[in-house]
C-alpha cells in the first residue's frame, strides 16, 4: 500500500499558508490567535482584514505583490 503525502503546512502559490491541526498563531503585535478549524489559512500577503487569517484579499493584489 502506498503512503500518501499529508503535510502539516501547505504554501499556496500567491495565497495563504494552510495549517493543519490546532495551533496558536502569534500575530505581528505578539498576540496569540487560536485556530478553530481542522485546517486554517494563515495570511501571507499582510493585507487581510481578518489578519492573521486569510480573507481572500490576496486575490485582488497585483501578481507581484502576492506571496510567492
Amino acid at each position: 500500500m502506498r503512503c500518501f503525502e499529508h503535510p502539516d503546512v501547505i504554501l499556496c502559490p500567491g495565497g495563504p499558508m494552510l495549517l493543519r491541526g490546532q495551533h496558536a498563531v502569534e500575530d505581528a503585535d505578539g498576540l496569540p490567535h487560536e485556530t478553530t478549524r481542522p485546517v486554517t489559512a494563515v495570511c501571507r500577503c499582510d493585507k487581510s482584514a481578518s489578519y492573521p487569517w486569510c480573507d481572500g484579499t490576496h486575490k485582488s493584489l497585483p501578481p507581484r505583490l502576492r506571496p510567492a
Binding site: 500567491g14 495563504p16 494552510l18 478549524r37 485546517v39 486554517t40 480573507d55 481572500g56
Partner: protein
C-alpha cells in the same frame, strides 16, 4: 425536523406530479407521459421536487416514492434535458491546468455580483427577498456534495471530508453552516424553512439547486460536482465580506451577519482545499475527469450569473459591475 410541504404547481407537469404524489398510489404513468414536453420553471420545479425526495421528503408524500421506478425515469428525462442545456453553454478553456489556473480563470469569468449590490446599494426589502430566494439553496448548504463521498478515490475522499467536516461545524451542531443560515433567517423574522418561501424562488434558483443535486446524485458526474464545489468556494470569501458589510449597513441582526463573516474565513480555507487538495487529488486519481471539473466550475459561475441578473431585474436595478 418537520418535512416541508409541497410547493404550488408552475405548469402542466407539476400539476400532474403534485397531484399524483398527494394521491399516494404508486401510479405515475401520466406524469411520465407529460415529462418530455415540460419546459421552463415547470420542468425545473418538477425536478426540484423529485430531487428533494432524496433529501428531506415532503409532509404529504410517502417516503417510499424516493425510489419509485417511474419517478426515477421522470427524473432521468428532466436531468438529461438539464445536462444537455448546461453542456451546450460550455467550452473547455484551452491550455489551462485546473489546479494552477482555475483561480485566475474564475477572476476572468465571474459574472454579475449580488454581493456588490448588497454591499453599497440594496435596501432592506431587496435583502429579505434575496434571503428568501437563496433559502432553498443555503438551507441545505453542503448536503449535495456529501452524495459524492463514497464515489471518490482514497485521497479525494479524505480531502473532501476534511472540507465537509468544517461545513458541518467540526462536530459542533451550533457551527453547522446551513444551521447558521437558518438562525440568521429566524433572527430577521423569516421562517427558516424553504416551504415558507417558494413564491420568492425564481426558476434560476431552482436550476442552481437542480444542477447541484444532479451532479451530486449521478456518480458519472462526480468531476462536475467537484469542479462546481471549487468554483463555489472560490467565489465566496470576498463576496461574503461584502454581504456582511452590506447587512451591517442596513442594521440586520448579528446572527445573519455572522453567517457571512464565518464564510469570509471558512471559504478562504475551503477555496484552497477545494482546488488543491480535493480537485488536485481527483486529478491524480482520475485525470480523465479534468474536462468535467471545468464543466462544473463553469456551470457554477454561469448559473449564479443568471440568478443574479434575474434578481436585479425583478428589483428594477440596472446592472452592477461584475
Amino acid at each position: 425536523m418537520r418535512p416541508p410541504r409541497l410547493p404550488d404547481a408552475r405548469g402542466p407537469l407539476t400539476e400532474e406530479l403534485l397531484a399524483a404524489l398527494r394521491a399516494g398510489t404508486d401510479e405515475f404513468l401520466g406524469v411520465l407521459a407529460t415529462a418530455p414536453t415540460a419546459t421552463g420553471e415547470d420542468a425545473a420545479l418538477a425536478l426540484w421536487v423529485l430531487h428533494e425526495l432524496h433529501y428531506r421528503g415532503f409532509a404529504e408524500v410517502d417516503d417510499r416514492f424516493e425510489w419509485d421506478p417511474q419517478l426515477i425515469r421522470v427524473r432521468t428525462l428532466l436531468e438529461r434535458d438539464l445536462e444537455a442545456r448546461l453542456r451546450a453553454r460550455f467550452t473547455r478553456p484551452e491550455g489551462l491546468s485546473f489546479v494552477d489556473d482555475v483561480f485566475g480563470w474564475i477572476d476572468d469569468h465571474d459574472g454579475v455580483s449580488l454581493a456588490r449590490h448588497v454591499h453599497r446599494d440594496a435596501d432592506r426589502d431587496q435583502v429579505l427577498d434575496l434571503l428568501r430566494a437563496r433559502s432553498l439553496y443555503h438551507l441545505k448548504e453542503s448536503d449535495p456534495a456529501s452524495w459524492l463521498v463514497p464515489r471518490l478515490g482514497v485521497r479525494a475522499k479524505a480531502a473532501l471530508m476534511e472540507l465537509q467536516y468544517d461545513e458541518y461545524g467540526d462536530g459542533d451542531p451550533n457551527r453547522l453552516h446551513h444551521h447558521l443560515f437558518a438562525l440568521g433567517m429566524a433572527a430577521c423574522g423569516l421562517e427558516p424553512a424553504y416551504d415558507a418561501h417558494y413564491d420568492a424562488v425564481p426558476p434560476e434558483a431552482l436550476e442552481q439547486s437542480n444542477a447541484l443535486s444532479m451532479v451530486g446524485l449521478q456518480r458519472r458526474l462526480r468531476g462536475a460536482a467537484l469542479g462546481h464545489l471549487a468554483a463555489f468556494e472560490a467565489t465566496s470569501s470576498v463576496p461574503s465580506r461584502r454581504m456582511a458589510q452590506g447587512l451591517e449597513r442596513l442594521g440586520f441582526p448579528d446572527e445573519l451577519v455572522g453567517y457571512y463573516t464565518e464564510h469570509v474565513e471558512a471559504d478562504a480555507v475551503h477555496e484552497q482545499l477545494a482546488v488543491r487538495t480535493v480537485c488536485g487529488a481527483m486529478l491524480a486519481e482520475e485525470p480523465e475527469l479534468e474536462d468535467d471539473l471545468w464543466f462544473g466550475a463553469f456551470t457554477c459561475l454561469d448559473l449564479e450569473d443568471r440568478f443574479a441578473r434575474a434578481m436585479l431585474d425583478r428589483w428594477g436595478v440596472s446592472e452592477v459591475a461584475a
